[in-house]
Structure formats: C-alpha cells, structure tokens
Amino acid sequence: MIATLIDLAYLVAASLFIVGMKRLQSPATARQGNRLSSIAMLIAVVATLFVAKILTPVEMLLGMVIGGGLGALMARRVEMTSMPEMVGVLNGLGGIASTFVASAELARYLSLSENTASTLVAVPFDVPIGITILLSILIGTVTFSGSFVAVGKLSGKISGNPISFPGMRLLTILMAIAAIGCFVVVSMNANAFPAEVQPVVWCAIGLVAIAFLLGILLVIPIGGADMPVVVALLNSYSGLAAAATGFVLDNTALIVSGALVGASGLILTKIMCDAMNRSLLNVLIGGFGGDEAAAVEGGTSMDGKSINETSAEDVAIMMTYAEQVVVVPGYGMAVAQAQHQVRELADLLQAKGVRVKYAIHPVAGRMPGHMNVLLAEANVPYDHLYEMDDINGEFDTTDVSLIIGANDVVNPAARHDKASPIYGMPILNVDNSRNVVVLKRSMRPGYSGVQNELFFHDNTRMLFGDAKDSIIAITNEVKELE
C-alpha cells in the first residue's frame, strides 16, 4: 500500500517536472514553472523519506541542511556574469552525487553479505545491476571532472586555449577501452559478487579513476569559444547520470527526470552547434578558439587597410540623430559589467525618439542565452531583444550598430573567407548598417583568435577603452546634446 502511494507520488513529481519545464516556454510563466519543478522535487523527497523508514533522521536532516545552505548561499552570492561557472559547478556536483549513490549501493551489497538485517529486500547482484552501477559511476564522474575543467576555463583559472599534448588522443582512447574493460570484468564476475568481492570492487574504484581522467581529457582540448557547447553538453550528462542512478535504484522518478534533463541538454547542445555551423564531433575534437590574452596583439592594419578611431562625442551625435540604433552586446560588455550603463544610454536615446533594439547572437556570452540574462539583470525589456534571424534583415535600415565587446559573432569573414576558422558560422550582419561603432579595449582578436575584418571597413569606427567608461562617456555627451 505504502509502496503504491510512494510510486504515485513519484508519478505526480515527474508530471509536475514536465509541466514546470513547459512553463519555461514563455518569460511570463517561467518563474511559476520553476516553482512547480521545485514543488515536484519536494514531493519526491518527502515520498522518499517514507520509503526509507528513516533510521538516522538527524544525519539525514544534517546533510540536507548543510547542502541546502551551501546551495542557497551560492545562489544568492553569484554574479550574473558568472552564471556559466555556477551552472558548471552545479552540473559537476550533480554528477558526483550520482557516483556517490552508485558507490553506496555497491557498498550496501557488500555489507549485505555480512549482515542480513537489511530493511530492504535484497535483490541479487546480477549483470544488469552491475552494469547500471558502473554506468552511473562512469557518467557521474566524467560529468564531475569535465565540469570542473570547464569551470576553470570559464573563470580563466585554466587557459581558454585548447590544451593538447602528444599522445593525448591515444591516451583518451586507451582510457575509454579501460573503462569498457571494467564493464566486461564486472559482468563476468557479477554472479559471484558479493561473496567474491575483489574483482567488482576494484573495477568500480578503477573506473572512478579512469572516468575522472576521461572527463579532463575530453574537455581540456576544447577551446574557450566552444564553451557554450560544452556547458550544454555537460548539462545533458548530469541528467543522464541521474537517469543511470535511477536504473541502479529501480526508481522511476529518477529515470524520468534524468531523461528530461538529458534531452534538454542535448537540444541546447544542438542549438549551440548550429549557431556556430559546426558539428558536435568537430567541437569535441576540434581544438578551436583561444583566450583573448593568448592571441597575438594585433596591429592596426590588415592587408594595408587602416582603422578609423572615433570619440565618445561623435558617437553620441551619430546616435542621437539616428532613427534606429541596434546594440550588439558581447562578452566584453559582461566583463566590464556595463549592462546597466547600456540600458541607461538606450533609455536616453529612446526618450529622444530613437528606436533602440538589441541583437543577440545565440553564442554571445559563455553559455546559451547568457546575454539575455545579463540584459534582463539591467532591466532591458525582453521584447527589445531580437534573435539573430529576426534582426538580420533590419541592419539595412539601421543607422548605427553599436558593438560592445563582441567579436566573432559580427565578423563578415564568416560569410566569405573560406580560410577562416569561423567560416560558415551564421553572424549578425552589422556591416550592412550605415555606421558601425565598435567599443573595444584594444585591437586584440576575440575568443576564436581571429582578427575581425569588420574593424577595417570604411563605415566602421572604433572607440577604444573599457566598455563601461565608454558608454558613460557617450551617455554624458548625449545628455549635453539638448
């Protein structure tokens, strides 16, 4: 009876997760959707407390309070600019949680052989159980170490350059083979476990080490420019890890939720790949894109062409008398924390009758949709934000495109230069607008390490300096123009 009720509670939770995710389809209902999901989680947790006839309520509460407290603290402290790192850390923790649960399950089988006083009916350890436990350990640990490498790259603690060494691909392949070997050995020894402890336990421990290394080896050769893809992919892995744990515990709630998350991460991965016109395989083995800092300090000329510098005053005049201004934000804006100043400038221009729109490239920033969040933080109404396909046709009738710290997503070389590493990537066609103003610190190329020919166009003007200072200067000049 109780078991049926608990299963029903899991069904309710799973349904609420789906409804909650569906509500995320519109900004108006999204918050409610997130709340529904969290209620679903509460239902699942409470139901589980009944299943397990808690023997150590104090420890259990302690664990939840410690973990929950840390989580709440992180959620409150994190800057919107660091959201990709936050998501990366949480992905990693979700992964390692799966590893812990699968390991605990293994340890339980071990203790069952010594102590038969279990509250749960012991299912014999067989091949499917062995494989699901190992799968949970493998996916969970790869997610963990891979996520933390990604976090290191996102925060600049690890170089954003693709890191590679001789024999690395071979090592990766060897590790993958070793992982498969663990599965084979455990399958062969499953029926003897737990009486015959050694092979299974050593394989599980070995797999943790292999998977840990594999996670590092998989992410470290991927360049910083591809981080949106990596973050999305790891998100998918963390879901798969949860689903694998569900198989281990024979728990529907975990399987359904894990599958939902896995699918969601996979879709985002695909969207990010499409946005860069590259295949997932290409991203994973590519090694494309590096740090701004590591790129060559570019000169002021390219093929003998020179750039036009401009002043805040000129930009202010140009924008004040424009009919339409399109702002193209990039990671440079995020780094300078200039989103609030940008909104202020936009408000001022709008008050003077200028139409201001924001053009958002799908891979602007460090994770899918990152730029939208930053602008939302600065209270930019989301109906002023336009996705690439919706705004690209409008640049012909745009007077000024204001590019704030974006590089690769506006580089026309992607359209015609077959030699360029970003060739074929869909870009924002800002070069079609009457004037282009680029706010940038220096002539350094962007995350992909490619110099941007847009900067050398006749209708492009460069305004060097910190994006925040430049925007403030322009805003002050606009105010003067009464």
């Binding site: 999901s37 023997l55 959201m83 949680a97 605990a104 340890a107 509250t119 949860a242 985002l268 939208n372």
Partner: protein, 95 residues
Amino acid sequence: MLENLIVFVLASFIGFEVISKVPQTLHTPLMSGTNAISGITIVGALMAAAMVGGDWAKWLGFAALIVAAINVVGGFLVTDRMLQMFKKKTTEKSS
C-alpha cells in the same frame, strides 16, 4: 530493467518536445532549472543514506546527500533569481 528502459526512452521524447519550444531568451534559466531537476539524485542519496548497510554505504550516501542538496537548492534558487529579473519588466512595462 526493460520497463525502466521504456520509461527512459518515452521521457526523453517528452523532454525533446517540451524543451525544443523554449525561446533563446530563456536558455540560461532553462539550463540551471533542468540542472536543479537533475538533482533528483537527492532521492537516490536519501535512499542510500537511509539504508542499513555498512559504514561505507552510509558515508557515501551522506556525501551524496550533501552534494545533491547543493545542486537542488542552489539550482532552483538561482533559476528563480534569474527569472525574477525577466518577470519584473513585464509588470514595469504594463504599468
């Protein structure tokens, strides 16, 4: 095992259907929100921690509980924080 596999595949299809319609604007909250959902592992952690087993099983379960709780609470709260910003403007605009 087969039943679980069926559930997994069907749930994946539902996931694809539901998620593919989420606009780009909400991709970051979507990601942190689904991430919190993947913290459903907390259910597994609770089960592992509550079972009578050796010390190893208990401590591994306890460790799982802590990290999963970080994932769940941190994930939902940070998603809410983001979505709050999206929400605020609709009210501002309508006023």
